[in-house]
Each structure stands twice: as structure tokens, then as C-alpha cells.
């Protein structure tokens, strides 16, 4: 330890005031405080002691909560590859294939994002904030496995600059940064992030006959056009290859999709970590799942009365919870404390509406089979409005007290 300390001390003079790299002192300090928690002490007035938890620890908690989803995503990408090509692969083959697809995306996301972040810290003379630890992982996990790396890089730069830095950096952004990256790609390069062909990496091998790369949501949507009940269509999908879209396999996550989003189980493990450590609001998570389920039931009620516009409406409500990225989005995206509602009542409303809008977009809007991305971004925008009314109610209570 002494050695690393000496190493840092050795280069320190270069970053001090007046020295040649003075401008980069924020980078020096940023790196030193990662290796060593800083030797700062409390001011002479005010709290003389501080809690042992800092933002770095909070952020790393979120990263750790995402690791099950990441590892499963790596394995599943290999798994999907071997299904699509009709080859047989061992556990190790699948993991290696998955890692080869995922790690480059993860590395590009972190490298490009951190470089952008550092540039702004130097220009603005801000300390390096920990927010990107989480964002970097999130961006990678919401990408399709086949995405060109330059698109990952471009989306990352867009999200960090336009989604965050223009508002003043970490803690000031309005939209969830990772969702901004995904939405950017979705609208700028739809060919690589939507449709049936991008969710499974074939690695230039031919797909096995009869294979369809459509996601569960796409299958559900298509079934509503040809009139077959959604559950039947899902269970028959790719059944010849031994890979159906049953409730269980969707819950486990053995389905194609973005890298980290497929497994509801892994998202729930993440949710348990986040809630147990108090880092994410359980109200948003429960609200999100509850809202989606309730809206699913409402759709079912319409479908039963002959008011249905499509078969999708009749799909059992609990299927919504395991399809697509709902679980991942509700657990990791919606709970981003900066872009979510910040009042306790507001968190309930925010979470529930995310679930409700996700299902509405999925079922009724043919252009966007996945609703969670747009629902989260929309609710990010609405969150300050929700909070505004919760805060107003608080002010009103205070005012009424004065006049009684």
C-alpha cells in the first residue's frame, strides 16, 4: 500500500497549482480516491463525524446487483447462439461465446463513457463522480448482443453529453442516462436494435431451418395480427429447437433479447440486493410490477367483453411481468434516484405509472413492441411534476396549520 501511496505522491507535484498538468488535477484526485479513501476530515463547525458510506459505495452496490443479470446474459447469448445454429454447445462453449459478444460492448461502454466524463470534469474542473460506474454497466446490458461497437460508442457519447453533462453532470440529469443511450440508438439506427434479426448472434453461421429470432413481445404482437391466442403462439415458437417461450423459460430468461434484460429471475435477485441494502426504492419496484400487472388485468377485462382490438389484450396479465425488459427496467432503470420521483408518495405514483404505460405501449402500439424504455423516459420527464404536487401538498398542510 505504501508503494502505491508513494507512487501517487510522486506524481502529485505535476498536478498542483502552477504545475504543467494542473488542469488534470481532478483526474489525479479521482484516481487516488478510488485506490485510497481520501484523508479528508470534517470542518470545525457542524457534524464532526460522518457516516462511513459514500456515493462510491452506493454506486458499487448497484453494479454488484447487476452482476447476476450480466453473467446470465453472457451465458444466455451463447445458449441462444447454439439454439439458432442448431449446434450443440457445452456450458463452457456458451459462456465463452457469450463473453466474446458481451465484453467488447461492456468495454466500449465504459471506455468511451469514462473518457467523455473525464473530458467534462477537466473542462469544468469538477471532481469525477461515480455515477458512470452504474451507467456504463446499464448501457451494455440494454444493448442487443449483435450491436456494432461504433454505435455503442456513439450512443454512449450522446447519452453522457446530452443526457447528463449539459444539465450539469451527475445528480442533475432529467432522463435516465442509460435509457437515453438506448433510445438514441432506437430512433437513430432502428435496423440494429429492433426487428427479429438482432437478438441472436449467429456469428456468420446459417440459422437452422424454421428458426425465428423474434422476441417474445414480437411473437405476441404478431399473433394478434393472425388471430392465434398469444400463449399458444409463444409456446409453439421455436418449439422444434427445444426452446419455447413458456412462462417459465421467460421467467428464467432463456429467451433472446438485450444482453441483461431477459431474465426476470436475475432482475429479482438484483432487486433483493438493492432493496436489502436500501439503495433502491422498493416502492418504485413494487409499484412498477403492480402497475403492469394491474394494467394487464384491465386489458384482459376489455378483451373478454369483445372490446379487444387484438389478441395481445387477452394474454394473461402475469405474462407481462416476465416478457421483454419490464423486470430489468423496473428494477434497475426506474429506480435511478436522480431521474425518478424523489418524494415517497411520488415514488409510488411514478412506479405504478411506469408499469401501466409499459403495458399500454406494448399492447396498443404496433410501432414499439417494447414499452418499458419509453415508459421510463416518459415518466422521467413527468417525475418532477408528480413531485411538484406532492411538495405542494406538504406546503399546503403547513399553510393550513397557520390559518386554523
Amino acid at each position: 500500500m505504501k508503494l502505491i501511496q508513494k507512487l501517487f505522491d510522486g506524481i502529485k507535484p505535476n498536478f498542483q497549482k502552477g504545475a504543467k498538468w494542473e488542469k488534470f488535477h481532478t483526474l489525479y484526485e479521482g484516481h487516488r480516491t478510488i485506490v485510497f479513501a481520501p484523508d479528508l476530515v470534517t470542518k470545525s463547525k457542524g457534524a464532526q463525524i460522518k457516516d462511513a458510506t459514500d456515493l462510491k459505495r452506493v454506486m458499487i452496490t448497484v453494479v454488484i446487483a447487476m452482476i447476476p443479470a450480466l453473467l446470465f446474459g453472457i451465458l444466455n447469448i451463447g445458449h441462444q447462439h447454439f439454439i439458432a445454429t442448431g449446434e450443440t454447445g457445452t456450458f463452457l462453449d456458451k459462456a465463452i461465446f457469450g463473453a466474446m459478444s458481451v465484453l467488447p460492448i461492456l468495454i466500449v461502454s465504459y471506455a468511451v463513457g469514462l473518457a467523455t466524463e473525464f473530458t467534462f470534469c477537466v473542462i469544468r474542473n469538477h471532481p469525477i463522480s461515480e455515477g458512470y460506474l452504474v451507467t456504463g454497466m446499464l448501457i451494455a446490458l440494454v444493448m442487443p448482443p449483435y450491436i456494432p461497437l461504433w454505435q455503442v460508442a456513439l450512443a454512449t457519447i450522446f447519452a453522457v453529453v446530452i443526457g447528463k453533462e449539459v444539465f450539469g453532470g451527475t445528480g442533475m440529469n432529467i432522463l435516465n442516462v442509460a435509457m437515453t443511450a438506448r433510445a438514441f440508438l432506437y430512433f437513430a439506427y432502428p435496423a440494429q436494435i429492433s426487428g427479429d434479426l438482432v437478438w441472436t448472434s449467429l456469428a456468420d453461421k446459417p440459422a437452422v431451418d424454421g428458426f425465428s429470432g423474434a422476441t417474445a413481445l414480437a411473437v405476441a404482437y404478431n399473433s394478434s395480427i393472425d388471430g392465434t391466442p398469444v400463449v399458444d403462439a409463444l409456446s409453439k415458437h421455436n418449439a422444434a429447437m427445444g426452446a419455447d417461450y413458456s412462462f417459465m423459460s421467460m421467467f428464467m430468461g432463456w429467451i433472446p433479447g438485450s444482453i441483461g434484460e431477459t431474465s426476470t429471475l436475475m432482475a429479482l435477485i438484483g432487486a433483493v440486493i438493492l432493496v436489502a441494502t436500501g439503495v433502491a426504492s422498493w416502492k418504485i419496484i413494487v409499484g412498477g410490477f403492480g402497475g403492469a400487472y394491474a394494467m394487464g388485468l384491465v386489458m384482459n377485462a376489455f378483451a373478454g367483453n369483445g372490446l379487444d382490438v387484438n389478441q395481445f389484450m387477452a394474454m394473461p396479465a402475469h405474462y407481462h411481468l416476465v416478457m421483454g425488459g419490464l423486470a430489468f427496467g423496473v428494477v434497475f432503470m426506474a429506480t435511478d434516484p436522480v431521474s425518478a420521483a424523489q418524494t415517497e408518495l411520488g415514488k409510488w405514483i411514478y412506479g405504478i405509472l411506469i408499469g401501466v404505460f409499459t403495458v399500454i405501449i406494448r399492447v396498443t402500439n404496433p410501432a414499439y413492441p417494447e414499452g418499458i424504455m419509453l415508459a421510463v423516459l416518459f415518466m422521467n420527464v413527468v417525475a418532477p411534476l408528480i413531485d411538484h404536487y406532492v411538495v405542494k401538498a406538504n406546503k399546503k398542510r403547513r399553510l393550513q396549520r397557520a390559518t386554523v
Partner: protein, 449 residues
Amino acid sequence: MSIIVKLKKGFDLNLAGKAPLELLQVASSSTFALKPADFPGIQRPKVLVNEGDTVKAGTPLLLDKAMDQVLYASPVSGEVVEIKRGEKRKLLEIKILADKKITHEKGTPIDLSQNRESIVAQLAASGTWPHIIQRPYGIVANPTDVPKAIFISAFDSHPLAAEVNFLLQGEERYFQAGIDALAKLTTGKVHLNVDGSKAVPELFSSIKQVQLNQFSGPHPAGNVGVQIHHLDPINKGEIAWTVSPFGVAQIGKYVIEGIYDASKMVALTGSELNQRGYVKTYTGAQVTPFLKDNTQAAHIRVISGNVLTGENVGAEGYLGFYHSQLTVIPEGEYEEFLGWLKPSASKLSFHKAIGMFSFLNRGEFKVDTNTHGEERPFVVSGVFEKVLPMDILPTYLFKAIITEDFDEMEELGLYEVIEEDVALCEFVDPSKNELQQLVRQGIELLMYS
């Protein structure tokens, strides 16, 4: 009619270094100081003595030209040895070298059957008046105001705090007299708020002329601001007063005997003191004799008050006017390898983020002054709300102060809080913002504009 309030929100810091309830024999301090900075409301301090003057206990040393009825008196008799000024001649300390035997300025006992004005006038000049604090703002009360009620918190829930009934033993008669005097000052009630989790000490249960309320729950249940919020909250334009139990007894002593007696007991606490307990001294005592041959580590922080709201006074400094506690803890000037990642059950934390297992640790925590991280913008939400048992949205209040939005500050309840009420918010904040200072800035914005 007494009110029982059970609070759930908050956080008790179980620190190492509690003071046993015993009186220590320590050589007395020889110098004492009056520090204008202890009274945040003072605008234009005027010193009434010169270096070299001899004074008695109760001789006025200082007044605020903006409120010149209130006199700030010398705690001891002796010689004014130094009037210390800082940058721009800002008055820092008036130091008195104490006589071996303290003599008192002889005033006249106060006849409580007089009208309110003359009682107020006598108290304001007595030296005891600065114990009366005005809410909103947490400043020395203005004698021309009439408060809607007076609130006394009879227990201190801060970490390692002194036991209030131990501080007041033998002062029962004065305490009642102080209450009687305060009851004359308000048109409303005098609230005496005791710890509802324990049996009410006889000292308080036998007191007349008060409404006895019980508060239980974790810190900040003992904060008078929290108690006011649940009893009779302060709205815009209203004024309430608060007095510490020690202040009540001191006022009572003046009422009965006509002297300003600044003798008080002080709790010596903190993990770095070898011998902990209580000592008898006077307000504003120099801390040096309490530390002599009594500290463990070389690099220590000497805090007048408690670890949440106190002030670093250094090993040669003086106790604050309102403080009955000295806390000595280690300084934390060290770098810790991967300190933000290492799991630990011995580092005190309100949070349970990965690796923080202190919530499993029921023992005492030894804390130092390390900040455990750098300052950041607000990111995490919902944490402050868990340690502030008031119907206030702290994050929004802080943001209103940062943006200097006067209407928002008022509407979000800045009239109801002072520094000590947000001290826990400052402690638990993972973004390490200085929220107590921020609240004082907000208060000053509201006061002076």
C-alpha cells in the same frame, strides 16, 4: 394535559466513550472565555470592558448594538486578559483570568409578582437572558417579543450527551423558580418535554406551572425543534422561545438570589479520554485542564458539544456558551486502501450498502473525524426523510436554500428547523454536503433580507 409522542424516524449513534455518572476531581480551568460566535444572532457586538479590567461574575462584557437590552456577562470574576480579534477585527473571544475565589456582581432578586416588563428588563440585564433562544432562527430572544409558548427539552438525545438530571442535581429549587419566571414571559404554555422511554425523574415530575410532555424514539427525539413541531409548530410570523434545562436553573438562581452563577457541570466524553465523567466548572472554561494527562492518541479532535453539532475548539480552546459536554475523538487524517469498498462491521453507518454491516453490530462504535468520501451533488433520495421526524421535505428545503428561493424556503418549513435538527441529515448524507451550514445560510437570508 400532557402529550405523549412516539417517534420512529431518526438514528441513535451508539458511540464509545460514554461518561459514567460520577464527579471527577480535575484541576480547575484558570481562564474562561465569552465567544460572540456562540450566539448566531449577534449583529454588531460591542465590548464593554478593556484588557486589564477586573470584573466580577455577572459583570457585563458585551452587548449587541442591534439589541442592547441584552447583556452578555462574565462567567467568573477576575481580570480581562485578552480581547481576541480575527480578520477585519472580528471579535472572537473575551478571555478572563479567573480569581481563586469567585465573587459575584450583586443584583436584586426578582419579585415575580411584578409586571412582565420589569421582569424582562431585569432578566435581560442579568446575564442569563442569552439562554432564551428564539424560534424561528435559533438566535437569542428579543426581550420586546412575546412568545406564543416556551419549550424546554429536559433530555439530550445527542451521542454521548450529558445526563440532564445529573447536571441539575441540587438545583431543583432554582429550576422551579426559573420555570415560574418563564411562565410570566409567555401568553401561552411552558412545555417541559421529558424522555418517554424512561421513568420521569422526580426533578421534572414535581415541577409546577408546566405542561409535561413525553417524547420517545431515537435521536433527534430530544431536539427541542422536533418537539415543537409535534406540540405546537411554528408558522410564519409566530415566535416561540426555547431554553435549555441548565438555562432554566440559571435563570431561577438569579430570580431567587440575584446573582449570575455560571457554575455548571460538564460531561467529559469520547473514546480518547482515559478518565471520563463529570466536572464542575464555569461556562466558557478552557478545556486544557480536562485533557491534561487524560488523552490517549496524539492526534485528537477536541469538540465543545457533541459529535453532531459541536465545534472543534482545539486543545487550548474554550467550551461554548451552550455546551455542557466535551467530546474527544481521534482525528481521521488517513487514507484507507479501497476504503469505499472494504466490508466492515465496525464503521458506523446508517446505510446498509454493500459491505456496510454496522447495522448488525450492537456494540459501541469508535468514530473519528474522517469524512469517508468526498463532497458530491445530491444523488440518493429518501435518506434525509428517514432521520428527520418532522413533516418536512428536507431535500426540497435544502435545494430551495441552495437556489436562494425565499418563498420556497418559507413554504417548505425553514422557520421550523435550525442546525441541530438537520445534523443527522448531514451525518448520513452519502454526498457529504454541509447541511447545517446551509441551513444557517438560509436562515440568514430570511433574517436579513
